[in-house]
């Protein structure tokens, strides 16, 4: 659990023709097999960080090491094999004319042999539960299904890390759950390291560890519980606190003795109804 797969040291980045730094002296490590959520409001630098991890930007200062490779133009293709990325808009990352063509796209790019390619396309569609849609065209799929195909396209390349860049923000609640469950399964069963970049704290609540970015700087990091203890502070950063956390805060303000700030509705409910039990 403690092997470092990504190590970012003192990274700064400035967009051309912009005065402020999009990332300002950020340092962080990502461990193998963990689920890390990076949260922040718009303009906090989280998307810039995501693009950097995939070599779409290079740091102006500092170093990024991914899976043993230093991020530079020479290594960028090896890094892209190690780290797959799922983007926000389900439509604008679907390249193939059918589901199987799209999953094969990354494999084709990497010159995988035809027989192996077929095996991997089927295997990865199986992992995301989309085998029934092999020859389906993208406009017949829902947003959640398209994102699952995108995930299949990523895992077909057998990466160590999957990076979700706001991958659920354009989906309805059902699609969001579909995608999150798929990712959870891959994280637990395949030991895939997950980095999810989001402004949705409910999604972040599912992570093992949360990093909060603000104005290009690392604001704080910790477990979801410890992050949600900051509730007022989070609101000041422009992040919506999940309902259960807000509710526990209000109940605590009203004088109720709760053991902790719950970030999960079920836990809150079960503490509430057992609150007056005297055993």
């Amino acid at each position: 659990m403690n092997t470092i797969v990504i190590s970012i040291k003192g990274v700064s980045y400035q967009y051309p023709e912009q005065e402020s730094l999009a990332l300002n002296n950020v340092s962080l490590d990502v461990y193998k097999g963990e689920w890390l959520a990076i949260v922040g409001h718009n303009g906090s630098g989280k998307s810039t960080l995501a693009k950097m991890l995939n070599g779409l930007h290079y740091p102006s200062k500092g170093t990024v090491m991914i899976g043993g490779y230093a991020l530079n133009e020479e290594n960028v293709w090896s890094i892209r094999e190690k780290l797959g990325m799922v983007f926000q808009n389900p439509d604008n990352q679907f390249v193939g004319t059918t589901v199987q063509d799209d999953v094969a796209f990354g494999l084709e790019n990497n010159g995988v042999e035809h027989g192996v390619m077929q095996e991997r396309v089927f295997a990865s569609l199986e992992k995301v539960g989309m085998t029934a849609f092999l020859n389906q065209e993208p406009h017949h799929l829902s947003g959640g299904q398209k994102q699952r195909v995108a995930i299949a396209g990523v895992i077909a390349l057998r990466p160590d890390i999957i990076l979700l860049d706001e991958a659920t923000s354009m989906l309805d609640p059902l699609g969001r759950e579909e995608v999150m469950n798929t990712v959870r399964e891959l994280n637990e069963k395949e030991g895939l390291t997950v980095i999810s970049i989001t402004h949705d704290l409910e999604e972040a609540a599912k992570a093992d560890r949360v990093i909060v970015l603000n104005e290009g700087r690392l604001y704080t990091e910790g477990t979801p519980q410890s992050i949600f203890q900051l509730d007022r502070e989070l609101l000041n950063l422009g992040l919506g606190v999940p309902f259960a956390v807000q509710m526990s805060q209000l109940l605590a303000d009203a004088g109720l003795q709760l053991s902790q700030r719950h970030f999960n509705e079920e836990e809150l409910v079960s503490e509430l109804w057992t609150l007056n039990f005297k055993m």
Partner: protein, 265 residues
Amino acid sequence: MMEKIIFGRYLPSDSVVHQMDPRAKLLFIFIFVGIVFLANNVVTYALLGAFTFLIVFLSKVKLRFLIGGLKPVLLLVLFTFFLHVFFTKEGDVLTQFGFLTIYKGGVIKGIFISLRFLLLIFVTSLLTLTTPPISVTDGIESLFGPLKKIKVPVHELALMMSISLRFIPTLLDETDKIMKAQMARGADFSSGSISDRVKAIIPLLIPLFVSAFKRAEELAVAMEARGYKGGEGRTKYRILRWSMRDTMAMLFLVVLSAALFILRS
């Protein structure tokens, strides 16, 4: 909205023609377009006609689909027919209306040319009816492959074609959405003079273009993130297989060309 589009309309089936290699079908059509011009008398046209109907029969495509596909070009066919009838001055005079003299040679030529047109349209629309668009793209990429040696970007062109095909429904949906959004704001697309209607399209086209460019940019980033670095060292998921039936079709075409050569006057 998709249903209205005839271009690239593919009718799935398991006929011999459907199973042919798209390269064979493309080659077949290139050659067929050439040899149609060999026919110049009744026997050769009859032969070509019989041949075309044999392919239509083999493809199991219903005749009404082919005839439906004819509608847009029918006007052109009639126009050519009358052009030949009125302006070819060969053979005996048939009738005369005022300054117009109709010759027998003109009528015959008109019929032949229209027939030539119809046969070409039948055979080419059979291609799109029996081949999924993506296979046509694969076929073109493979056939034009040798042009890579003279630096024609064949792979890139084929990829562009397949991405365009993939985005047609997406953009149609989007057009529909923008149209409704503009109508909700009071835009009127269906009344007024022609120039009014053309002007009404502008608030439809501009948002569509803006979003298409945005999509293109995001798609390019996504492709790069998935390791796309051009055609070099790339393998193909779809593999084209040239089988016995494709060779047979080609041989058949050679025999037909020979027959046309011998029978033409």
